[in-house]
């Protein structure tokens, strides 16, 4: 007996409006012709055109995408291995330390993760730049990947693997031909999350970056501190559009490929 009361509807509608209103305002103002953000000067796409000539922003976006791609891929490999170890290997030596190290970064404030990695790079006298940001983002994202893949592995039907092994498939082959295809949706979701986290990160990247590796959030942050600029509205709108299209198509694809509940995030 489910009854939807007016109060229920009211809460949902208000919540959704609260979540989306600022983003909608941002997108609308990105089409504002006036340089003064507060004054409405009619519809225009001039800020998008100017964006194409802003080399600094384009460079930063390119660096961000590269960092996100490399670190998400590394984190997916490491995190999946970690999840397999935690779920399948039972009590191996050092398991407690391992699982603590998997969960701790999830709750570690970004400021501290960034600070500690910077101090490591300084102690090892590693020049900071593209690869130090990649290492930092990989470390942060590995834990999220492990948690997602782990949750999929836990309700995995073990009899499928056992059947393969009974039929003589060696463990590695069993993993590659039976287990992996079945957990691929979770791995894909984890990769996407890792990619988004890397693309989103400002704090850790600020600590671990160096000359020539200014990511898009660092760039946007330094502009935003000086006030609202129409070009930034345009960058953000493009970002929002890309994210919406990606997430919606991914969840649509997940719905089409798997009949039962697709790997829902979080």
């Amino acid at each position: 007996m489910r009854t939807v009361t007016a109060f229920n509807l009211f809460a949902i509608v208000l919540g959704i409006v609260f979540l989306y209103l600022p983003i909608v305002v941002l997108v609308i103002y990105s089409f504002n012709d006036s340089r003064l953000v507060a004054v409405w000067g009619g519809w225009s796409t001039r800020w998008y055109v100017e964006l194409l000539h802003d080399a600094a922003i384009l460079d930063a976006a390119f660096i961000s995408l590269r960092v996100a791609f490399v670190s998400a891929s590394l984190a997916t490999v490491l995190g999946t291995l970690g999840a397999v170890a935690l779920v399948r290997f039972g009590r191996f030596r050092g398991r407690l330390l391992f699982s603590s190290m998997i969960y701790a970064p999830l709750v570690m404030p970004e400021v501290i993760t960034g600070l500690s990695l910077l101090l490591l790079f300084v102690a090892l006298t590693i020049d900071r730049g593209f690869w130090t940001v990649v290492i930092a983002h990989t470390t942060m994202a590995t834990c999220f990947v492990t948690v997602i893949v782990q949750s999929r592995l836990v309700d995995f039907d073990m009899s499928l693997e056992e059947a393969a092994m009974d039929l003589g498939a060696p463990p590695l082959r069993t993993f590659l031909t039976v287990t992996l295809p079945l957990i691929v949706p979770a791995i894909a979701a984890a990769w996407m999350l890792a990619f988004a986290l890397s693309l989103d990160d400002l704090v850790i990247a600020s600590f671990t970056t160096g000359p020539g590796a200014t990511t898009l959030p660092i760039r946007i942050y330094s502009e935003v501190r000086l006030g609202v600029k129409p070009e930034i509205n345009a960058v953000c709108s493009i970002f929002v559009a890309v994210v919406c299209i990606t997430v919606l198509s991914a969840s649509l694809a997940a719905k089409l490929t798997t009949a039962r509940g697709a790997p829902t995030r979080l």
């Binding site: 507060a38 291995l81 570690m108 970004e110 073990m158 953000c236 969840s251």
Partner: protein, 307 residues
Amino acid sequence: MKEATARAPKASLAQKLVVALPYAWLLLFFLVPFLIVLKISFSESAIAQPPYRPMLDLGAGWRGIAQFFAGLSLDNYRLLGSDALYLLSYLKSLEIAAFSTLILLAIGYPIAYGMARMPRRLQPLLVILVVLPFWTSFLIRIYAWINILQHDGLLNKVLLALHIVREPPVWLATDTAIYLGIVYSYLPFMVLPLYAVLEKLDQSLLEAAADLGCPRWKTFWLVTLPLSSPGIVAGVLLCFIPIVGEFVIPDLLGGSRAPMIGQTIWMEFFGNKDWPASAAVAVVLVCLLVTPIVLFQHQAMRTGERG
């Protein structure tokens, strides 16, 4: 576990490799860096590169190690205790985290509850709608609020047009803006765990209570709320812990008079170049945050036992 022993001995090398890779990565890039922070928090600040002493000189053998330990001091921690800036900073972070978590719970619960009561086929769509803003950049969402809250921004225009205020109030650089930014950014983190629990709630329990003549508010108080407590705990922790260490939101929306602890670490490090002091602030912050995490694990173990 059984199948681990049942496997061919050859597999154990592969197994070791599977564990070793992520293990080594996390040791090198998570644990070791944190040990370095711990070590530097006991060092003194110096005008050098890197700006702290003593350095561990392994080349000098035992004498080097002895000198290193003799050079460590608690001065940075004494500084934390004696300088009101740090104490106020911690208190402000805890205060903002506590109040905004309460606000999040008050706003998030009705939303999650409403979502759980909607028709089944609409629920996945609602989940996507709540999650979607989370996927757009954190920075962009805060920036969107600057657009709205600035002096001649949308909010003041609406307020003036409706004659609610005569003079445009100042929103940016206030605590109100920090709360708004935090509640906005963390709402999905509160709604999702609550929804996950409420959605599984056994409807027959509510029917039973109604059949026995229990009023709806009392059913909520006696049945729904206690049964959703794991979701409440998860949501509160998912919000409270990161909010304490929050940097971007107070930095962009708040004023600079009373910084939160994340800002203090940032300022000590980048502004004052006092690495030992910021390391000490970070160590104390981690200790503060470990407490709720231990509580959470306790709770998780209890729910695990319950099945």
